[in-house]
Amino acid sequence: MGEREGLDVRVRGEQPFAFDAAFGCGTAEMLAIVGPSGSGKSTLLRCVAGLVTPRAGRIGCGGEVWFDAASGVDLPPHRRRVGFVFQSYALFPHRTALGNVAMALGHAPVAERDERARRLLAKMHLEGLEQRRPAELSGGEQQRVALARALAREPKAMLLDEPFAAVDRATRKALFRELASLRHELSLPIVLVTHDLDEAERLADQMCILDCGRVLQTGAPREIREHPASAQVAGLVDAGDD
């Protein structure tokens, strides 16, 4: 059976806590994994990136197998082409904005790295800030650098872990717009982890409701809101409105 082009995840494990979930995300599609704190959202994302190793299952992306417990395949994070945006930005504090982005361009010829990094920063509206270190940037600017760095990797999948959690309302709105336009531009599966239902509904095509490491329901945001599969999903959706 051939690999589908998007991201296909089926994982089961016990560390850091029990999870058993399956989800998929097509090319140019955005999937939001939504659930309360401690539901295992970030763990699933970390499994895809190779930062957490599931006990069983399979992860395939863009025609490649990244993890397959049955055949013993487990690519390390640096060999999976993912663009990971961390909640805390996780920028390299000793490097400038340009240096942060260039660091993810290891696959590009050395002579081209700076120019490519500059272009990506410009795309994120960060012209003139190339030589600033993370500590000299605002939260929103740091987040844009993190996005530029994730894109620099030329990823096969974008993984966003609560990317808007640490920015103010105005910055969040601007980042929403940017992400929405990027979505259409990039032909990639994008997985967004959030506890904010409103955020998920505004941005995502598909939503995956998660609780205690298990998928409760997957579908279009409106469909889930109008036809929750269980009282538990209805409760979580209602709680998100509060």
Partner: protein
């Protein structure tokens, strides 16, 4: 002032630091990032030279390096002289005695690097060796340098271990601190005073450097 003893102490300090750099970085980094169960035991074992009386440590090292041990016999068979009472033996003892002085600041420094930063580096395509070279070492260098400065200063002043393992052979194992002891025994307080004053100044400078580097660690990790 006994210049040959001083030169020997500096040579011993320099070689000790040179050997402790890769050993300290490897062990300090491993202790900082490992989640294995043996970590606690390894930390205790590596801290032992801190609490063990230097003469006791020296005694066991003398047994291990002497002709009665397999290590001592093996060394003698290859190099033609015993490991005990030689510069090489002194160096090996010095490296072991200084392990906690070098490793602990290095470990703290590596622990100060947020895990997400190292994960972000891996997700950015950096191999584990590249993470070491481009993330870990640049961020932890003040702690690494601090550990080496501490180890160097401690080597200059080490007495018990040096005397037990090396004896007091001029030009081979007779270090500055042993000369101070010999001078005092010979009622040459002026000679002992000059050497002591020099070691005192070096220790104060070393502490100043460590303090400066520690403040840099704090700033680098925000």
């Amino acid at each position: 002032m006994d210049r040959s003893a001083l030169a020997l102490s500096f040579r011993l300090g320099a070689f000790t630091v040179l050997l402790l750099l890769p050993i300290g970085v490897a062990l300090g980094r491993w202790l900082a990032f490992t989640r294995l169960r043996g970590k606690g035991g390894a930390e205790v074992a590596l801290s032992l030279p801190l609490v063990l009386p230097p003469t006791v440590l020296g005694y066991y090292l003398l047994l291990a390096f002497g002709g009665g041990s397999a290590l001592g016999r093996g060394f003698e068979a290859i190099f033609g002289h015993t490991l005990a009472f030689s510069f090489e033996g002194l160096l090996a003892a010095s490296v072991i005695a200084n392990l906690p002085f070098a490793i602990q600041p290095m470990q703290r420094s590596f622990e100060g690097i947020a895990p997400e930063i190292r994960e972000a580096a891996a997700c950015s395509g950096l191999s584990p060796w590249q993470v070491l070279g481009r993330i870990d070492l640049p961020l932890a260098w003040p702690g690494i340098a601090g550990g080496l400065v501490l180890a160097f200063a401690h080597t200059l002043g080490e007495f018990g271990v040096v005397l037990m393992v090396g004896g007091s052979i001029p030009g081979e194992t007779r270090t500055a601190s042993i000369v101070i002891y010999d001078r005092v025994q010979a009622f040459d307080t002026a000679g002992a005073g000059a050497m002591s004053a020099l070691l005192l100044v070096l220790s104060i400078v070393a502490l100043g450097v460590v303090q400066l580097l520690s403040s840099r660690v704090g700033r680098r990790h925000g």
